[in-house]
Symmetry: D2
């Protein structure tokens, strides 16, 4: 039996400007390019950008949706996990990912960072909340992906 | 962009005798053989049997775990979704699957059947709870899988 | 420090005919009359009837709401617990109550009965699902309340 | 029918030094003294201190527990709400409270602040996370309570 693939989360705002969309897309591409599964909240913005990037690189994309309808998922999600639990689903993303990369984001992202730190998951941050020395700050997508794989929690 | 694959759930007891293990395994094989993704609660018994079958047929297996540790997943799970929400995760399985096949099972399975009926998902039953005319009763794995695909909720 | 009051749950359909409304109301009155706290799903039908009865007897009423707005609670709820988790809140009612009385009800009630049995909570049933010998069947409100207090899980 | 009482949340670390315990206790006393219900996460530290204060002032204390056992609640909790959902219960506290007072606290408190801001609930902070201008910073218990009542979200 083959080993399980790694799972990396990308978290961030559901609305995002062009430059950050491209950045998150590159991160998704990097995650899939190195053979890991991508998990996000399944909606728009950073989540969609990373999903698109991962699909372009032939990866598998899991989207953990807050609502009760799989059709809410962005078009790049392979497996919409339909929770119907609203923001409580943020804990699931933080628990399932073995490392998380945060790009931009507002209070939802902040809650996911908080949960990731509670669960002792590595968090890499790009232009996001500067609240804690445990968030590894990087400057570009390449370093974000490299660091996520280097710090992966088994 | 390719269409999303269908997702079919298999629910049932976490401990199961040999004959039912073989039955659930055959169901998993049938689901993957027809190209759908399998979702289960990720633990032992019926969940493990269906997962093993799906992997044998080259499929993708999602396991929505009640606990907080991915290592709890049975060895055939490709993507352990770690909820940390105990039995509340049963709603997620019922919401995510487009049809559910119940094999044997106790009160946890009963709760999943109840949620599936609330969400108007088709439920196919084999040697399981006989509580409602909306549960489609079948006698073997082949018919269970055929009916699940015939009734899939988009 | 005084001992904590007992907590008893009443579960059942969100729409209910007159005779069952009166029955659930009498159950709520009996629970509060004996000094226990009532917990329900906070919505209409059986939940509202029991809440009204408990308030008439001077009791305290907790309503564990599925939605995200306290205003959804029926008017007899003292403390609306706002979960925003839809049907996943059913597990909370079954976990919090030390005994549950089921009146009528559909699949939501069925899921709550299932969870109560998983958590080894006593379940008393009136004109509800006949699925398991562990559900104590009674004929009137008086016996339902008496049995709930006799079987209370500490 | 009388109007529902207000519900105010106190959030903060499960372990806390003496001076902060006294501060949270005074906040609990102030909340109950003004006739509101106190809601906390039901555990130790700031949660326990506020609960003790509220009980001393004759108030009602709700504790929304992460675990599956009511016995985990601190001794001042009147109504232990047993979620069994671990940190996902943080969303319930933020949804149920009409205003929240944060005292000290670590990542769990941070997640609750994040959810409170998502749900547009007023947040008053004492020696806690300084992450957002929307957190109203005060210096003592008296002002925290006054501000919470002044800003209550109906």
């Amino acid at each position: 039996m083959a080993q399980r693939k790694e799972i990396i989360g990308v978290i961030g705002g559901s609305q995002v400007e062009k430059a950050l969309y491209a950045l998150a897309q590159e991160i998704g591409r990097g995650i899939a390019g190195r053979g890991a599964i991508l998990i996000t909240g399944g909606m728009g913005g950073v989540m969609e950008a990373a999903s698109q990037g991962a699909k372009e690189a032939g990866g598998l994309v899991i989207g953990v949706l807050p609502g009760s309808d799989a059709a809410e998922a962005n078009p790049w999600v392979d497996v919409p996990i339909v929770t119907g639990m609203s923001h409580a689903r943020n804990t699931i993303i933080a628990r399932t990912a073995q490392a998380l990369i945060a790009v931009d984001g507002s209070y939802g992202t902040l809650s996911e960072i908080a949960f990731a730190l509670i669960f002792s998951k590595p968090v890499i941050g790009l232009q996001t909340w500067e609240i804690d020395p445990r968030i590894h700050r990087v400057k570009d997508a390449k370093h974000a992906v490299e660091l996520a794989f280097a710090l992966l929690k088994s």
